[in-house]
């Protein structure tokens, strides 16, 4: 680094930052001084100005990719130092989607927190909701009292979400590397699963379905049949999608031996999820620290030991197959029963149904609270507006999301609102591996490496 010289303007024309010493002084692309030399924003027709390097010295170009870029997997800014096509340094700039969700939740009740949390990692909303609800239920002490049907439904929705999330990873990863058909195939398959989400929860994405104490409402009558039907179609479709890419020599050429990250690096960087499993280490929280009854399901944890992008891609395809197995087991396990905890001081009071005005009010429930029982009305009112209180303390609940360990850290001060909620998002953590995976490689390989980490910027920035 000590011998490098940046592209600098020649001293004669250097007259200070932003003063327009170049012929094309662009007000949106000023140059400015830094301790490392002058930074020039290339604005067009100014190569003579930019190219002031002395012959014989090495040149260092710092290139900015993003935040608006079709291939950076969301609003991710990559600051790359290039030597030709080789990346000598790569740094990620994040925060372009920072929404202040964690602070916003401190002003809403515990149940309303679910609607915020669901929009963090927007490709796996059910996982966000479940992690949060598990942490809240830990503080409430009702983890064992969640009805079995609610747990089975939670597992089923989470595994369906895992399939849809991995499909987006394949689709967008393929698109970023150039395999545009993968995008079309992936999103088409995903529509099947989004139809199921819409049938059960009412929304395709961001449904706020899993609530502290259980789930918001029971499955509709035709849900089971529809899910079984979809599970019959899905394996064939997934095979079509994976056949596009598996054993595809171009795909393999782009992804094999790219983005290498071995086990000690993963452990040092706290990487979990498919990236960790691509090193050969079968760490999956569903097996090691099960939740929601995962210990009773029969499934495998796929691993490979190549620790490259292709390996992670194969793991995701295998995980989709395992998720389908789990969904089939869930369907067999569904027994009639409640879907909300019995404790009436916590359970969401209303059962939702589509009413005559298109809004989600159950006619019997309204009749009861408005016409029959004053106490029921008060109970409903208090629980919906004020919400339940959660005992003071802190809890951390971690689940295995499609990207890795998603941890919800919740602090309660005994009130009806969270005191502090923090999500340990796997994408936030895993993105730190970008320099380790990409420095020394080529620019095109960074895209593949980042796609294999599969970061969702909503989770990274929250």
């Amino acid at each position: 680094m000590s011998n490098d010289t940046e592209y600098t303007q020649s001293a004669a024309t250097d007259s200070g930052a932003g003063s327009g010493s170049t012929p094309m002084s662009d007000p949106y692309a000023p140059g400015y001084e830094t301790s490392e030399g002058r930074v020039h924003t290339v604005a067009g027709q100014d190569w003579d100005v930019v190219h002031g390097a002395e012959p014989g010295k090495k040149e260092r170009v710092v290139v900015n990719m993003g935040p608006q870029h079709p291939s950076t997997h969301g609003v991710l800014r990559l600051v790359l130092e290039l030597e030709g096509e080789t990346v000598t340094e790569a740094r990620c700039g994040i925060g372009y989607l920072h929404t202040g969700i964690e602070k916003n939740m401190e002003y809403r009740s515990w149940t309303q927190g679910v609607t915020f949390v669901t929009r963090m990692d927007y490709l796996s909303p059910f996982f966000n909701e479940t992690a949060y609800c598990l942490a809240v239920e830990k503080l409430l002490g009702i983890t064992d009292q969640i009805p079995e049907r609610a747990n089975v439904i939670r597992v089923m929705m989470m595994e369906l979400n895992r399939i849809s999330s991995h499909l987006v990873c394949l689709a967008t990863g393929g698109m970023e590397i150039g395999a545009l058909s993968a995008m079309i195939f992936g999103f088409r398959e995903r529509e099947l699963i989004l139809d199921l989400f819409e049938l059960v929860t009412g929304l395709r994405m961001n449904s706020a379905y899993v609530r502290p104490g259980g789930v918001a409402q029971d499955l509709p009558a035709d849900a089971e049949a529809k899910i079984r039907e979809t599970m019959k179609i899905l394996p064939g479709r997934l095979k079509d999608t994976s056949d596009l890419l598996v054993d595809n020599s171009i795909w393999m050429g782009r992804t094999q031996n790219i983005g290498f990250l071995d086990l000690p690096s993963c452990m040092a960087l706290g990487i979990t999820g498919p990236v960790l499993r691509s090193t050969g280490y079968a760490h999956d929280l569903r097996k090691t620290q099960p939740y929601c009854g995962y210990e009773t399901y029969d499934f495998n944890v796929p691993t490979v030991d190549t620790a490259d992008v292709y390996g992670r891609f194969l793991i995701r395809i295998a995980e989709m197959g395992e998720s389908m197995k789990i969904v089939a087991q869930c369907l067999d396990r569904l027994k009639p029963g409640p879907v909300m905890v019995e404790d009436k001081r916590i359970a969401w009071p209303a059962q939702l149904a589509v009413g005559s005005d298109g809004q989600g009010n159950s006619a019997e429930h309204i009749k009861k609270i408005m016409a029959e029982s004053m106490e029921a009305l008060i109970h409903h009112f208090k629980l919906v507006t004020e919400g339940f209180s959660v005992p003071a303390g802190q809890a951390y609940a971690a689940i295995e999301s499609p990207r890795g360990e998603l941890g919800a850290y919740v602090v309660s001060d005994g009130g009806t609102r969270p005191y502090r909620v923090h999500f340990r998002d796997p994408s936030f953590n895993n993105l730190q591996a970008t320099p380790a995976m990409s420095e020394g490689g080529q620019i095109a390989d960074i895209i593949a490496a980042v796609a294999s980490i599969d970061p969702v910027m909503g989770g990274v920035d929250r």
Binding site: Q68, T99, I184, F187, M205, M457
Partner: protein, 184 residues
């Protein structure tokens, strides 16, 4: 702009306006400005089931210089706002902006320090689309309404008059606080 803007107004221009409007709306290329959850719904709208290609819009240009329509899909944070403006400025006219989702229209559910309360704080918006996220059909509906708006746009001196008239309408329109009616 082009030759069509330099023609004198009159009967000839009307036909040209109709033709230009039809041509512009039929191949409106969106710029990729997908930010958050709405971006995923925008991608599915371009996908196989809700096909945007039938409207000539499947080509999402990464470079704003080649794009006509910026669909701001998702919540715009304070850090992203200058980037948004820069991309808008880099687009060549005629250009339109569609604020997709409640976060882009008004800040959505995130009424806080980090999110711009509506992208119309930094770019002029032609059509607002509510929803969290809006269904693909809703996005297509908004795009078709925008198509109607585009095909009705005038050219040349008529356009200048139209801009002045629109501005008068906008200045005379009541603010959201002054509007009357039920709160729904």
């Amino acid at each position: 702009m082009g030759l069509e803007e330099k023609l004198p107004s009159g009967f000839l221009l009307t036909t040209v306006e109709q033709f230009a409007g039809y041509a512009r709306k039929s191949a409106l290329w969106p710029a990729t400005f997908g930010l958050a959850c709405c971006a995923i719904e925008m991608m599915t709208t371009g996908g196989a089931r809700y096909d945007l290609a039938r409207f000539g819009m499947e080509v999402f240009r990464a470079s704003p210089r080649q794009a006509d329509l910026m669909i701001v899909a998702g919540r715009v944070s304070q850090k992203m706002a200058p980037v948004l403006r820069q991309i808008y400025d880099q687009m060549a006219g005629p250009k339109w902006v569609l604020a997709m989702g409640v976060c882009a229209s008004s800040g959505g559910m995130f009424n806080n320090y980090a999110i711009l309360q509506g992208v119309d704080h930094v770019v002029p918006v032609d059509i607002y689309l509510p929803g969290c996220p809006p269904r693909p059909e809703m996005l297509i509906d908004a795009i078709l309404k925008l198509h109607d708006q585009i095909s009705a746009t005038k050219l040349g001196p008529n356009r200048a008059k139209e801009i002045v008239a629109n501005e008068q309408l906008a200045l005379a329109a009541p603010s959201t606080l002054e509007m009357k009616g039920l709160l729904r």
